[in-house]
């Protein structure tokens, strides 16, 4: 399973792709079930919106407590906010989807961001 993420140009906020829109909450992100062509098409659309978002890329997901969570710890921190300030960032809203992200286990950084190695 994959999702697509970026940072919003105007404020740097972490955003996720949802059917042609960018949404703030990871819980609202569109999930791509092994449909690489659809992922590529959505990433291409996102990259075609340079005044809306920057740094568009797909991330790998893993099941967690009946929800989905990014495999990469780095991506979970992006989806939650900093661990030293539990009231800052997206995690402030709380709820089941946030808890599932918090409890997910796995990679720190090396995996999960699908296109980490960029070829020019």
């Amino acid at each position: 399973m994959k999702a697509i993420t970026a940072n919003r140009l105007l404020d740097g906020e972490v955003v996720f792709w949802k059917a042609g829109q960018w949404v703030d909450a990871f819980g609202d992100a569109q999930l791509f079930d092994n449909d690489d062509a659809a992922v590529e098409a959505a990433v291409a659309t996102g990259k075609g919106q340079p005044t809306v978002v920057v740094d568009v890329y797909p991330i790998d997901l893993t099941p967690s407590e009946g929800h989905w969570a990014p495999v990469s710890y780095r991506e979970r921190i992006r989806a939650l906010g900093p661990t030293n300030e539990p009231t800052h960032g997206k995690q402030a809203e709380g709820g089941e989807a946030i808890d599932a992200l918090r409890h997910a286990a796995g990679a720190a950084r090396s995996t999960g961001r699908v296109d980490l190695i960029r070829r020019k």
């Binding site: 005044t51 780095r74 990679a107």
Partner: protein, 552 residues
Amino acid sequence: MYQYDAIDREFLVDRSNEFRGQVQRRLAGELTEDQFKPLRLMNGLYLQLHAYMLRVAIPYGSLNPAQMRRLAWIARTYDKGYGHMTTRQNIQFNWVKLKDAPDILDALAQVDLHAIQTSGNCIRNTTSDPYAGATAEEVDDPRVWCEVIRQWSTLHPEFSYLPRKFKIAVTASARDRTAAKVHDIGLMLRRARDGSLGFEVIVGGGQGRTPHVGPTIKEHLPVGRLLSYLEAVLRVYNRHGRRDNIYKARIKILVAALGAEEFGRQVEEEWAKIDAARADLPDTELARIRGAFAATPFETLPAVSEPFEAARAASPALQRFVRNNVKPHKKPGYAIVEISLKAQGQTPGDATADQLDVVADLAERYGLNDVRVTHAQNLVLPHVKLDDLPAVHAALAAADLATANIDLASDIIACPGLDYCALANARAIGVAQDIAAKFADEDRAETVGELKIKISGCINACGHHHVAHIGILGVDKKGEEFYQLSLGGSGAEDASIGKILGPALPADKVAGAIDTLVEAYLGLRNGEERFLDTYRRVGLEPFKEAVYVQAD
């Protein structure tokens, strides 16, 4: 402190307006991200994990109360109510929006602050001694020379596109509080036997993935020749520094490849070609800058303060604070007060807007309008009367700013790590908090004594882990956060690079391992010997055994 004149102010306003236009063009799609990124970086604006981060320069770590209050106001208005002191005497705001950045630069410019030289491959903000102008150890005021370098290097056309970033430190004390030997250039002011002032010039120190303690290439550079000599060093580096590989682009790689002697020879050759009359600072200009720092209005006071002695006798908390955070001042009746930003549970180096306001008020009321930030992520009130120490201590305690742990095990340097930084592989803040908790017992922390623990969340080493007594480097090992420990580093005058202790440890084992190292040290030390000195005497093995035998 140095006062901006009309030209300085006009320059900052122009710069801010220029950036406002660049942001507008980016938002309108007239600039691509690739075109815009170097422009925003030249104004200290990074894109991190959760938001933009603005790094504001605090030239040579010196602030006045109006500037401090403005930083507090920015933290409140544009951030989440706090700022983060960096390991290079800057302050970072973690939650900045691109659309607000030009307004923030305007607000900074109104109090003579800016974000120039906090990013990019230019000469960065110069590091200096946070005790400058206050310590009896110094042979001259290093801020004068930092200000000279600031004015010379700001937007220097020849040195704005160097192979890589370039960091200079200036200290005038034998005790180095600037980590001069691990800067691209470390300048150590010394007085020669004939009384003349000169710089010992150290070039090619650095941290990151290739740490080096810099070699000395000139023992005594007459101070009046500083700028021409810097020009020669930078010119040799600009010409021969590697631009083909970002990991080999710093001057330390060039100096190591050529050897210090050959590098020094090339600098001398280049220096000889430079027209000194053009390149060196005229005496009149030096006198103007020096004048700005000479006017600290000290009073003539007795060396002993009765009110202070009485308060101290009555307060164990004040005694502990004085033992650890108060340092001798050059003027009788005054003291240097360090303010730790390393309270239990605090993010190392973070200060809330309210705390910044408290420190600004104290500087105004009791501190001759002077505040410093240190590369160890703490604050300093450099000029406090002994008479006022009890009141200052009480006010700090009320703001949770009186933690008495300077240079103790809980005074940990930590970079923002994976909680904020786009480059990090692992978190640093949580590990620092876990270790600090092991030394929450203040008596134990004092028994252990000076112990500099420093944590970086990646090999770029913003947390100075290479030059820590105990260094901790976060690594990503098969997708988990692991931490590599190293021992025996120092960023001070006795600079050295730490040696790796053994295999990296998982996050939940780090604080316990530090505890084990400390217990091993307490069993090994002779008398009052520091951790670093014990390590240097006994070597790595006893510590390695203690940690890895227990870890199994």
